[in-house]
């Protein structure tokens, strides 16, 4: 299974390769939903890599949720807004996400704003 393989590859490029072929296979096998998710995972990995370069912090292999939480706690709300739109995060969870992230970073002023 290519998805399992992708976690075993050490270099980023090989992982993209694995995931892309997983995506193709999902499409061939008529698992459109899974193919779509794989596509999003690739997108997320690219995001994470860019963010790592930008802020030189580790984001890779965090889930989308955790990536966003980390970003909020670090005050990068702009990127988060963008990601939220792009990955279509439901409001209810996003609200929880913000509450938890702000309380973690001790940002009570932001927390008050709700």
């Amino acid at each position: 299974c290519k998805v399992i393989d992708s976690y075993e590859e050490e270099t980023m490029e090989a992982r993209f390769g694995c995931l892309t072929s997983a995506q193709e296979n999902f499409t061939k096998g008529k698992y459109e939903w899974a193919a779509k998710q794989t596509e999003e995972q690739i997108k997320l990995l690219r995001y994470q890599r860019r963010l790592e370069e930008e802020f030189s912090r580790a984001y890779l292999d965090l889930s989308l949720h955790e990536t966003m939480r980390k970003l909020i706690a670090e005050g990068n709300t702009k990127v988060v807004e963008q990601m939220r739109k792009e990955f279509k995060v439901p409001d209810r969870r996003f609200w929880w996400l913000k509450v938890i992230a702000f309380s973690e970073s001790g940002d009570f002023i932001e927390l008050e704003k709700f």
Partner: protein, 605 residues
């Protein structure tokens, strides 16, 4: 020792005795001093068969866990590997053997025993690794069903369900059929067989074939078990997913019971009234404390199957009783009376210690059950099996996901909702799945896929659950937790479907629920094994029959409790013994189906 095994409906001590004999025969094949190298999965189960002192009598000097690399040095004549036929372990064995050979020194004999059976693949792997020829003996120790208690047997194969539903690997079913043959060799042919589900069908077929192959060489033993009922977990996936509410079930859910032993945080059980420096105390108290839980302990036998809400009152009643007994000494006047009192003392002391232990355990459990998370999850479960609002995303589940509660808890709730809703609408299912991937990570795609393949998550199909709920009376509104009158007390209002099937099989019979049975997956099995007249059990009027219920794919403590409850009913037609591939909780069961993945640390260069 092992007295708890002989007080059930049939004497399971006999089974244990036969396994012990077999183990010792295996060991005696190798003459001289021995070191045993154990597969970790087997130390617990085999510990229930033979204690260390017995092994010592048979010249076992050392015991090691099976690890990759080199064995610890020892100067024994024989090195005996005891392991499951698991390919991954073969490599470890080969390394051990090769390293030992390299060392030179005086020659040791190597032996290998597979439990319960040899596997062709494993033997081939050993040949490929070039060590097969080194073994003096490659044999098997047919330990199939490990007696856990007077009425509980388990194969301790945790991957059985996964293998059957995900990989179409029926090895464990073969072992189950073999195990049933062993039981029949000891306790006589079981005349009536019933079963439900695809796996049950396989087991019954294999079993009947094995009997035909033995043609005419059957041991002439009086039938002690009248009825065999095989239930495939896939006919009732809902029950193990719900939170068990019996005392033993809760201990298992919260702390995990392995091979009848539970490890609990030590602080609660530290001997009181000890002064001294705190540092030393911290070391002693942080160590987990082990307790063996079986029916040898009178108090536990009484407590284990109670609804947890009934445990507190019972404990306090017991405490008063013991206090009253101790007070009797004041009324003892004559020497005779005092003597009588003193003779009771050891028993009373033991009862007092056991009471103290269980009061502490109950406190630990109560800490968990009074938590808001536990209550909220229970409320959600009750809404689901009651059939309320199951077709919408449940706010509590959404919150759990957002708060990153343990994934297995979330999956349990979603699967419960899915089963009670007869599957989800595609959009709902995709919503939950997406939420999980986004929150817990993409790697869980495979777990989700496994759950779908296992039928725990599915697209909406025929509406079977409401019919089943009604015809099998799964939901009971008024539950009496203190003095239960129905098996539904074990889940405070939900009667385990599996146990309902067992109950109805005897009275009024499965024919009465013909339609409900057709709604459940897999064929219904009804077979009779002919046995000669003289071996039939003479059923005296009023005598209870004995039924063996075999759960393929695991059974929970709450289900066992429900069966015991049936056994103890005054007008019950039968007593029950339980056998299973593995004792499970919802968590351990789901984990066995899920995929375990973690990304390799990423190397940026």
């Amino acid at each position: 020792m092992a007295s708890h095994l002989s007080n059930g409906p049939v004497n399971l001590g006999v089974l244990r005795e036969s396994y012990r004999r077999e183990l010792l025969e295996c060991l005696d094949k190798c003459t001289g001093s021995k070191a045993l190298v154990w597969d970790d999965n087997l130390t617990g189960p085999i510990g229930l068969i033979a204690e260390y002192s017995l092994l010592k009598e048979h010249e076992v000097d050392k015991m090691f866990p099976l690890r990759p690399g080199r064995l610890q040095p020892s100067n024994v004549q024989n090195i005996i590997f005891i392991c499951r036929p698991n390919l991954a372990l073969m490599e470890n064995i080969a390394q051990n053997v090769l390293k030992e050979e390299e060392m030179g020194g005086f020659r040791k004999d190597f032996h290998l025993f597979f439990v319960p059976r040899k596997s062709f693949l494993c033997e081939k792997a050993l040949k490929d690794l070039g060590v097969y020829g080194t073994f003096t003996n490659v044999d098997e120790f047919c330990l199939d069903l490990i007696p856990f208690d007077g009425d509980v047997l388990s194969m301790e194969m945790d991957l059985s369900y996964r293998d059957c539903v995900l990989n179409d690997d029926w090895t464990s079913l073969y072992h189950a059929a073999k195990a049933l043959m062993t039981l029949q060799a000891l306790y006589g042919i079981i005349p009536n067989i019933q079963g439900k589900g695809p796996c049950a069908k396989h087991v019954v077929e294999m079993m009947l074939r094995m009997r035909r192959e033995m043609a005419g060489q059957e041991p002439q033993i009086m039938a002690q078990i009248d009825h065999l009922l095989i239930i495939d977990r896939s006919t009732d996936p809902l029950t193990p997913l719900l939170s068990q509410l019996t005392y033993e079930g809760l201990i298992d859910e919260i702390f995990g019971i392995n091979n009848t032993t539970v490890k609990l945080p030590g602080e609660k059980f530290a001997p009181q009234g000890k002064g001294g420096d705190e540092a030393a105390e911290n070391i002693t108290t942080t160590e987990p404390k082990k307790f063996i839980l079986n029916s040898t302990e009178e108090l536990f036998a009484e407590l284990r199957d109670r609804n947890f809400n009934a445990v507190g009152p019972l404990l306090s009643r017991k405490a008063k009783l013991i206090a009253a007994q101790f007070d009797e000494r004041h009324s003892a006047k004559t020497v005779g009376e005092i003597k009588q009192f003193v003779s009771k003392l050891p028993h009373m002391q033991a009862a007092k210690t056991s009471l103290a232990t269980h009061t502490s355990i109950a406190e630990l459990v109560k800490e968990e059950t009074t938590k808001e998370e536990f209550m909220a999850s229970l409320r959600a479960q009750q809404e689901f099996y009651g059939g309320m609002e199951t077709d919408k995303a449940h706010p509590y589940i959404e919150d759990c996901i957002a708060k990153l509660e343990p994934l297995v808890k979330v999956l349990r709730l979603i699967c419960i909702q899915c089963i009670c809703n007869n599957g989800f609408k595609p959009k709902m299912l995709e919503f939950y799945k997406r939420e999980i991937l986004q929150t817990y990570g993409f790697e869980h795609l495979i777990t989700l896929h496994n759950l779908e393949k296992a039928g725990l998550l599915k697209i909406q199909g025929a509406r079977t659950y409401p019919t089943l709920r009604k015809t099998l009376k799964l939901i009971v509104e008024e539950v009496n937790e203190q003095n239960p009158n129905d098996i539904s007390y074990v889940y405070s209002g939900y009667a385990p479907l599996s146990v309902r099937l067992a109950q109805i099989a005897h009275r009024p019979g499965w024919r009465s629920i013909h339609e409900a049975l057709n709604l459940l997956p897999g064929p219904t099995i009804d077979e009779i094994q002919q046995i000669p007249m003289e071996l039939r059990r003479r059923s005296q009027t009023g005598e209870q029959k004995v039924t063996l219920v075999f759960f393929l794919g695991g059974v929970t403590h709450a289900e066992i409790a429900a069966l015991r409850f049936l056994s103890h009913q005054e007008d019950s037609p039968s007593e029950y013994i339980v056998a299973t591939t593995k004792l499970i909780t919802g968590d351990s069961w789901l984990k066995s189906i899920a995929e375990n993945l973690s990304a390799k640390s990423y190397n940026p260069f």
